[in-house]
Amino acid sequence: MINLVWLVPVLPLLGFLINGLGRRYLSKSQVGVVGSGVILAAFVISVMIFLEVRQPGFSGQVVTLFDFINVGRLQIPFAFQVDQLSALFLLIITGVGSLIHIYSTSYMHDESNEGFARYFAYLNLFVFSMLLLVLGANYVLMFIGWEGVGLCSYLLIGFWFKNASYNKAAKKAFVMNRIGDLGFLLGIFGMIAMFSSVTFSEVFSKTAALGAHSNYSSQIAIIAMLLFIGAMGKSAQIPLYTWLPDAMAGPTPVSALIHAATMVTAGIYMVARSNVLYTLAPQIQTVVAVIGLATALLAASIALVQNDIKKVLAYSTVSQLGYMFLALGVGAYTAAVFHVMTHAFFKALLFLGSGSVIHAMGGEQDIRKMGGLKKFMPTTNWTFLVGCLAIAGIPGLSGFFSKDEILAHTFEHNKIMYVLALAGALMTAFYMFRLYYITFTGSFRGTHEQEHHLHESPVAITLPLVILAILSIVGGYIGLPEVFGVKHWLAEYLSPIFAPSAPFIEAHHLEHSMEWLLMGLSSVLVIIFIFIARSKYVKYADTGRENTGLAKVLENKWYVDELYDAVIVKPLGMLSRFFQDALEKAGIDRLVNGVGRSITWGSQQARRLQNGQVGFYVFAMVIGIIVLFVIGLLL
């Protein structure tokens, strides 16, 4: 089965080609069957691969397809890495991906035939790139997938390209990602210079062989930092996070798949994959943890006051990604991957739920104009509630286990970070339930026409919601903490991946009583915050009052966009204008035009010699002969 792994990315590529080339000829149902079918088939193969990989004692395998780049000593084969980490990501990508494809067949049904096929072609191409990213056995292949998902993200954010602001959001996402990609690329170059290899196994074994306090530790730190810059761009961390909230311009299933469940976790995957590099660069690990924590807090604070249903979820995504980086930064790689998985379930669920709401509201995204949707959309309501409970970290649901693992590891690492992370978790609980209560409870505040139109979504939309809700509930049980007297299944499953860095991590375990205490503390506080949100927003009425003070700053997202605009965009624009006016127009243009003009002038002068008078020609000839004669005599 492992040898058939190439089928997993090839199937979505096939779907992309069929839907992309046949977009004029295929009907919507054909496109939907092809688009969802290939992902579903890839999911089935992924499950079979996973079943093989999860056998105890399975060690990672590399399936080499063909030689890709051979230059001197540097050899980069086109090879796939099949191990515990990539198999888990395969499951998440194809599993959540196929649910979202099924959902899209209904959600995007109002598009024209061609637009529908274009959408599915892009979505299939995205899944292909994402699978390439997680399957690649070296950093170059990973980078190809990395760029591919960036491209698809751009194409899908700007899917409705007739809207200028959507196009701007797409461009913003692309440019922000490129900044990060440059870091990643430089990191790969550094790796080639240092190890003359980009293959995972070689790089990691060579790094681990160098050990903790080698002469090369600064080089390792530089490579780790450059790779992390790439992760910052793709996974929307400070300072490159501003593209993700704007990326909500895309269709909602796209937000769920690309901007919540899969693509933005590519950075986590990359850092988790390169865990040896980070473990051996403790100072960079601290940077990762601090940036993750800062992003988690900043994004959570912004989410507290946003009124666009998708924006709240977008900032929540940024914040949760921050938690994952915090986990990576404190060396809790398993916890980060665990949170990637549970987050993929409940965030995809929340986004798809919001899509169902937006669909029912006829495109309205402002939660102030919703309210009381509970009785109109029962399935969406309860699945959304499950998602909120899961992300808030109510005991028993998936988010609780993964988040608590991160918090516990942070507590081991640094007490101040723990307090801040806990504060972020409480903010998460608060804004998620603010969103829930404003949207689903109280009385309906939209127009009469919208109220008349309200309905529960069709089964193609609710089925993925129900499946994801079930996964959000049970997904956490693969990683029960050891205090429950069971083995942490996920930690054991992933241990081969993180084994190379294990010798360098000081193992210190919390006492069980302490862990119980932390768990209890966070659970009680989360429940208290949910009740605060309930008392404040359960009978929400839109007063239309402007926010003041801190709330206004939060509503304007800490003015970060304005800051970037003033510090980077405007000076850059001025510089470009300077180059355009001073260098281009006054310098280069004048030079080029001057050359052209002088040649024209010169030719006009020379043209007069050809006057058509034979006598003149003969005269010139005679003069020429005489001149030659005289020169001959003189010399």
Binding site: N611, G612, Q613, V614, G615, V618, F619, V622
Partner: protein, 105 residues
């Protein structure tokens, strides 16, 4: 006679020919002047041939063969040139070459 006489006569004929070609507008006279140029060269060739023959060079007669070539080519040129002039006269009722400027544009 010393060869200088022939050279000076030849130069005189050549200059007359050149001036005629440059100055005159009548096609027939220009034509005659061209003949004059050719014959000036012929004269020079014959003169030098005689000079080298007197000096005992056995290959001096080669110059006279050149003269015959030039005469043949000149005869052919006259045939074509006169035909052109006749056609020009038929079309323009003039042999003034400046009238032919209209080919220019």
């Amino acid at each position: 006679m010393p060869v200088q006489y022939y050279i000076f006569l030849s130069i005189a004929l050549f200059c007359i020919g050149i001036m005629g070609v440059l100055m005159r507008r009548n096609a027939i006279i220009i034509f005659m002047c061209i003949e004059l140029l050719l014959n000036a060269v012929n004269l020079l060739l014959v003169a030098f041939s005689k000079m080298w023959a007197d000096a005992g060079r056995i290959d001096a007669a080669a110059a006279q063969i050149f003269v015959f070539f030039i005469m043949v080519v000149a005869a052919a040129e006259v045939a074509v040139g006169l035909a052109i002039i006749v056609m020009v006269y038929r079309n323009t009722h003039s042999v003034d070459i400046n009238i032919l400027n209209r080919l220019k544009n």
